[in-house]
């Protein structure tokens, strides 16, 4: 049994409850025990770090200090924004001990920061610490037949020198996980474009426009569904979809899943447990593609490749 310190963030206990609950199912199957940080606080996104640098660091640092009290080497974070704030803080503190001491002094009652806990997004944890082969071995119900566009958003792999995970422009970790489940990840060029993020509240039209382009490209790629690892992306793409359809005068009806929902599905959990009713765009049509497989001429393909290879080497 592996153990993982868990930082859910505010959304996992609210709007992205389906992420939180399916993540727990998935990790149970993968033999990972989650230990939620007691008394965790807001990560500060996005208002704290744009207002004052100190507060922007101090809020995540308190969580990091609390995480160090739990005897695990890694902290997994559900929300992409929380992950980003926590990771940026960790990297900056580790690089600059003087700054770390200064920020630490404001929350010294919680303890001294040592820089001992690794910070990872849940996507990164599944991809790097659990691994594709293990995920594949737990699949009981293949998603074969379903085509998905994996959407990473702006924060999970950026900035490159902070996250040091996957590619900042064309990441593939989620694609690989989906392929391990049996689904097909489409070639999707908008996987790191901005969804509009928190403009959803202050200037909704920006989100309708940007998220609309993402939906457009996902449809263009031939995907039945979009898969995400970020609560804000999910809500923008799913919840705003009716408005986007109205604005663009077209209907997409592309459901937006958390990657953990599809993992749980492939691991054999009953549909009732996956909180699909929480989605605005119905998921049934997309899921009906599962098992609808076009016969692939595997042998023919192989021979063709072999022939090519032979002529190359000869």
């Amino acid at each position: 049994m592996k153990k993982l310190t868990y930082f859910p963030g505010c959304s996992a206990h609210g709007t992205s409850e389906e992420f939180d609950s399916t993540l727990k199912l998935v990790l149970k199957t993968l033999d990972v025990e989650l230990e939620e940080i007691p008394d965790w606080n807001c990560c500060g996104a996005t208002s704290a770090h744009v207002m004052t640098e100190n507060l922007g660091y101090a809020l995540p640092l308190r969580n990091l200090v609390l995480a160090e009290k739990i005897d695990n080497s890694t902290m997994g974070i559900a929300c992409a924004s929380c992950y980003q704030r926590m990771k940026v803080t960790k990297v900056h503190m580790d690089e600059n001990p003087r700054l770390a001491a200064k920020i630490n002094s404001t929350i010294i009652q919680e303890g001294t920061y040592k820089g001992e806990v690794e910070v990872k997004s849940m996507l990164q944890y599944c991809y790097e610490d659990i691994g594709i082969e293990t995920i594949k071995s737990k699949v009981t119900k293949s998603l074969e037949g379903m085509k998905v566009a994996c959407y990473y958003g702006c924060l999970l792999t950026r900035p490159k020198n902070i996250t040091k995970f996957d590619s900042p422009e064309y990441p593939v970790s989620m694609d690989r996980i989906m392929e391990a489940l049996g689904a097909k990840a489409t070639e999707f060029d908008y996987k790191t474009e901005c969804c509009g993020a928190s403009f959803a509240i202050s200037n909704t039209e920006v989100v309708l426009n940007l998220s609309g382009q993402i939906l457009e490209m996902a449809r263009e790629s031939g995907a039945h569904a979009i898969v995400v690892a970020c609560p804000l992306c999910q809500s923008n793409l799913d919840m705003r979809q009716p408005d986007i359809q109205k604005l663009r005068g077209t209907s997409y009806n592309i459901p937006v899943f958390y990657f953990t929902q599809l993992m749980a599905l492939a691991f054999g959990y009953p549909v009732e447990k996956l909180k699909f009713p929480k989605h605005i765009i119905p998921v049934e049509e997309a899921l009906s593609n599962i098992g609808r497989v076009e016969p692939v001429p595997e042998k023919g393909k192989k021979t063709k490749k072999a022939v090519e290879a032979e002529s190359e080497v000869e």
Binding site: Y170, Y190, M217, E312, E314
Partner: protein, 657 residues
């Protein structure tokens, strides 16, 4: 009794603003041995030098101290002034009161003045112990080695050989011609690259004073200016060039296909091949990495079809040696791999190519017969987007410098595209248009006006696929908006980078290179073709990115330098070298270990006068010694001294402060 003259320079305001020169002169006058001291505004000028010459005669001076700029700047000038007045030039000492005092202590004039006076006291003390020294003559081997057979190496070799000086030209690939042989037409005149290059290639092959060694690499260089010895490894070609007629039967029948480097991998060549039909020498070589016969011992078709029996699978690499007097390095350039541009989908989208791939396509002898074709479906593109500065001027992903030629060749590509596909349209994303050069700005105008290429100032942020088109999204900074262009083909103007092997070659030759791997010139402005090592010169892009005219000019400059070096039968050399006092030498040979120039060998001398028993001592090769002084420092018996920097001179300096 020594009689020293001290000459203090104002260097305009450079020294005088921060050092109280008249006071320094007064202090110098107080030194017992100083019989004459004076200041002047510009000591290096002719009136200044005349003051020195006059004083030498008038005051019967025995040594001279000039307090001025660094000796690297004007030591030679002042030495000449001394010899003009009939004095041994090595009785001069320079006190560097500019770089070592006035420039570095600008905030404290008093301290700067004191330091300048100290420096002069030291120089005076040292000069008292100066001895007369005389230049050394070393013989010169009048043969030049040119490394690299691109246009730079070709031009340098031809110019040197035309002066009736033998040249050995070493080229690593099977043919000379280099990058220029891959080009279609050249800016700004659009004359055909092949038409102006291939005659020169033939001239190289047929020149009585040029020895062409293709498919070879220099692996060792020993010796010193005028007397180098080079080892060259001739890679096994597995073809006997003397027997081969170049008929082509072998490569027509060879069954192995390998990506063709000459065409940037767009098509395939065979395992036995000549790089291109106009190759010089026009003889094939076998690519040992891909030949089935050499790898597995099966096939042997080329040997069967060769009527002359020129194929020899047992051929081995061969090492040849050449004695030479000077080296011209012209190893050219490589292109930057644009893979880090992930947001463009480089590597994922087949229809994104580099400029040199485009060049090969539009080239008359190219793999597509002169038409640009989309690699994905072989269709002729209509909308082509060119993106400049890929890797250049990009500190985040590439390199900081400007590659210099991309603005021009991209304009050329727009024109060529228009020539080949009349109903096409070129879009060019640029940061700046750098078209400095004769006829260059006019050439860019031609691309903008005649071919109506759309120049968009701004960077491309993303390329994505929509159907079979590539959508190029970038900023048009002049209207302040994001624009999207539907492209059939995208061409990336990738940066010029130095060849990967440059650092290794630099170490082998004993010259320096910069942080990118470009070989370093001795002085960026005044000695642009020399390296810091005497007798080794640089031509072309191996020193920095440059276009063909600049490369040819630099190559010819190298030739002039080589001819100048070889103009006499011997060369003069500074006498500031080490000398061994055999009386004290114990033969420990520590000096041999520390000498960076391999200038010290052992010698056997009689144990005593008339004795038949022998003992070992160190012996210094005057031609090789560079006067670094390492051997002096390591010698436990104090048997080695460095002329111009003897122990008594140095001790005098120390005592003086």
């Amino acid at each position: 009794m020594a009689r020293v003259g001290v000459f203090v320079c104002f260097c305009g305001a450079n020294i005088a603003d921060f050092v109280d020169v008249p006071q320094v002169v007064e202090e110098a006058k107080r030194i017992r041995e100083v019989k004459y001291a004076i200041d002047y505004k510009y000591m290096c000028s002719d009136p200044g030098q005349q003051m020195i010459r006059d004083a030498i005669v008038q005051f019967k001076l025995t040594s001279i101290v000039v307090a001025a700029c660094s000796p690297r700047m004007h030591e030679k000038t002042f030495r000449k002034a001394l010899s003009d007045a009939g004095m041994n030039p090595y009785l001069l000492e320079v006190a560097n009161i500019r770089e070592h005092s006035s420039w570095v202590h600008q905030k404290d004039k008093k301290a700067a003045t004191e330091k300048a006076a100290d420096l002069i006291r030291m120089a005076v003390a040292k000069s008292i112990a100066n001895e007369q020294l005389f230049e050394i003559s070393v013989p010169v081997t009048k043969r030049a080695l040119v490394i690299g057979g691109g246009i730079a190496g070709i031009q340098a070799a031809l110019d040197i050989a035309d002066a009736r000086i033998p040249v050995t030209l070493v080229e690593k690939s099977p043919s000379i011609g280099g990058r220029m042989a891959q080009l279609d037409e050249t800016f700004p005149t659009l004359d055909c690259s092949q038409c102006i290059l291939t005659p020169k290639m033939v001239d190289v092959a047929s020149h009585p004073f040029i020895e062409l060694i293709p498919y070879s690499e220099v692996i060792e260089l020993d010796g010193y200016v005028g007397n180098y010895k080079a080892k060259i490894r001739k890679k096994a070609s597995y073809v006997n060039f003397k027997a081969c007629t170049g008929c082509g039967a072998c490569w027509q029948k060879c069954p192995v296909k390998v990506p063709n480097e000459y065409n940037m991998g767009i098509d395939k060549r065979k395992a036995i091949y000549t790089p291109f039909p106009q190759a010089v020498p026009n003889k094939p070589v076998i690519d040992a990495e891909h030949c089935t016969m050499l790898l597995k011992g099966k096939c042997g078709i080329c040997a069967k079809v060769c009527e002359k029996g020129a194929i020899d699978y047992k051929m081995q690499d061969e090492i040849v040696e050449r004695e030479i007097g000077a080296v011209v390095v012209a190893t050219g350039y490589d292109l930057w791999d644009p893979k880090p541009y992930e947001e463009y989908g480089v590597g994922r989208f087949k229809d994104i190519i580099t400029s040199l791939e485009f060049e090969r396509m539009v080239s008359a002898n190219g793999p597509t017969g002169g038409l640009p074709l989309r690699p994905s479906d072989g269709k002729v593109p209509k909308n082509v987007v060119f993106i400049k500065c890929i890797g250049s001027r990009d500190e985040a992903k590439g390199i900081e410098y400007c590659s210099k030629i991309c603005c021009m060749y991209t304009a050329k590509h727009a024109i060529l595209l228009h020539h080949k596909v009349h109903d096409s349209h070129a879009y060019i994303f640029y940061m700046d248009i750098r078209a400095a050069g004769k006829g260059y700005e006019e050439f860019v105008k031609k691309a903008q006006v005649d071919t109506a290429a759309t120049y968009l100032r701004g960077r491309v942020s993303k390329i994505y696929k929509k159907g079979d088109k590539l959508i190029v999204r970038g900023e048009d900074a002049q209207i302040g908006q994001v624009v999207e262009v539907e492209a059939d083909l995208v061409v990336l103007a990738t940066a010029i980078i130095p060849p990967k092997a440059n650092p290794e070659l630099a170490r082998l030759l004993g010259i320096s290179y910069d942080k990118y791997g470009y070989l370093s010139e001795a002085h960026p402005k005044l000695r642009p073709v020399e390296t810091a090592k005497a007798g080794i010169f640089l031509a072309g892009c191996t020193q920095a990115p440059k276009d063909i005219p600049d490369t040819v000019a630099q190559a010819s400059a190298c030739a002039a330098k080589v001819c100048g070096l070889f103009s006499g039968d011997t060369m003069k050399k500074d006498p500031m070298i080490s000398k061994v006092n055999n009386e004290f030498c114990s033969g420990c040979q520590n000096c041999i270990k520390v000498c960076p120039y391999q200038a010290i060998v052992t010698d056997e001398i009689p144990l005593g006068h008339g004795s038949k028993e022998m003992r070992t001592v160190a012996k210094i090769n005057e031609g090789v010694c560079q006067g670094c002084g390492s051997c002096v420092a390591i010698c436990r018996s104090m048997a080695i001294s460095l002329a111009g920097f003897t122990d008594s001179q140095i001790i005098n300096e120390i005592v003086a402060i």
